[in-house]
Symmetry: C2
Subunit: 237 residues, 2 copies
């Protein structure tokens, strides 16, 4: 196959359930995929190890981890000293911007993905934002993704002189259970994914934080057991 006929994509891969599903979508679309994860001052790196395994397992050609010290800027319980909220109801999770919000995170991650895309001539940039994640995060909304894509086409050689840049968010309108069904239909092994904001030292999920709760509810609604739980001797609460 000639170089020019290869369609390349950069996939932002956190190691969570959503971005693993997104990588499977991009692979299914026929893209040669490169995956990008970020070490940005998280309190744990379980997710990063998961991202590296998932990238290989799902068939990406390259995985990179970039360091960015977002914690130097402060402002979030995910990277700072605050407590991760636990045991909140779905209404609470869905209402307002939570304290785990990392300022401008998706803007920063997409910007770095865009830089790599330009270097390897990838025309597509995949990100796993979705309707549930919206839950108060402004940078998970469709309007944000559209505005980023528009900006990216002004920002780059690809946009101004080349084939253009596409920001793809295939989960945007899916609920967590729909995402899980979609991933399972593509054979994604969700036992390789990690979602918890506050895992124990073994990497076991806390089952209490917002992210664990959304994941539990998603598997429940999809009619599946989360394959991650038996790995740690856990069952659905």
């Amino acid at each position: 196959m000639e170089k020019s006929s290869i369609r390349r994509a950069i996939v932002l891969l956190s190691g969570g359930l959503d971005s693993a599903t997104v990588l499977a979508c991009a692979i299914r679309e026929g893209f040669e995929c490169r995956t990008l994860a970020f070490r940005y001052g998280q309190r744990h790196t379980v997710e990063l190890e998961a991202a590296s395994h998932l990238s290989k397992e799902l068939g990406a050609v390259e995985h990179r981890v970039m360091d960015i010290d977002l914690s130097a800027l402060g402002g979030s319980s995910l990277t700072g000293q605050g407590e991760v909220p636990k045991g909140r109801s779905e209404t609470e999770i869905g209402g307002g911007i939570p304290s785990t919000y990392v300022p401008a995170r998706n803007t920063v991650f997409l910007a770095l993905g865009l830089a790599w895309a330009e270097v390897v001539e990838a025309t597509h940039l995949y990100i796993g934002v979705n309707a549930v994640d919206y839950s108060g995060y402004p940078d998970c909304r469709p309007e944000f993704i559209q505005a980023f894509e528009r900006m990216a086409n002004f920002a780059t050689k690809m946009g101004t002189e080349g084939p253009g840049v596409h920001v793809v968010a295939p989960l945007q309108k899916l609920s967590k259970s729909e995402i899980i069904r979609l991933g399972m239909s593509m054979g994604v092994d969700y036992s390789l994914t990690r979602s918890c904001y506050d895992p124990d030292p073994r990497g076991a999920p806390c089952l209490g934080c917002d992210s664990c709760q959304l994941r539990l509810a998603g598997f429940h609604e999809a009619g599946h057991e989360d394959p991650l739980l038996p790995l740690f001797g856990l069952t659905t609460p």
Copy 2:
């Protein structure tokens, strides 16, 4: 003065002539300024030392340097192994995207500036792009700045629930000589700024790279001697 009446700005400060002038503009507008520089795999750090001095000298309240490993993504002679082009004519400098282009650089820098802006509740984000810098860099054009501002308002709490985000590029339509005259009228000491892509070990400018040539031509046209030259025993070639 009450907290709410303080107007805050983040100023991207490279240590070069343009961003020093921008900081002086933001200070003159009455903003409480925080300056942000990046260690992104440049081959030299003369600029970074200059940024730190300039921040204090011009009256910013805080200066931070963020590490981002853009060189891990490759793709530019500023951060990679290629040669910095020397002795190019103004037509060559103005035509096409030069090899010193760092992919999506201003997008990445503005995104990180936006993150800090959100943390400290700064409504204004200053950047020193200008008409001359355009010279083939897509992310120095007014259309890019406007598209970034629009995106930033979708991306953040400030944009969606707060006072909005403004991306200010006060040099956008000025030539290098106009920038120099503006800065001198505000008392900017340009001997503290560094512009060279390829300084010698003492930090002296090479006078041959695109950036040195634009600076030399700018001072010439403004009718001033570059105050940096005597510091290194140099004179205008």
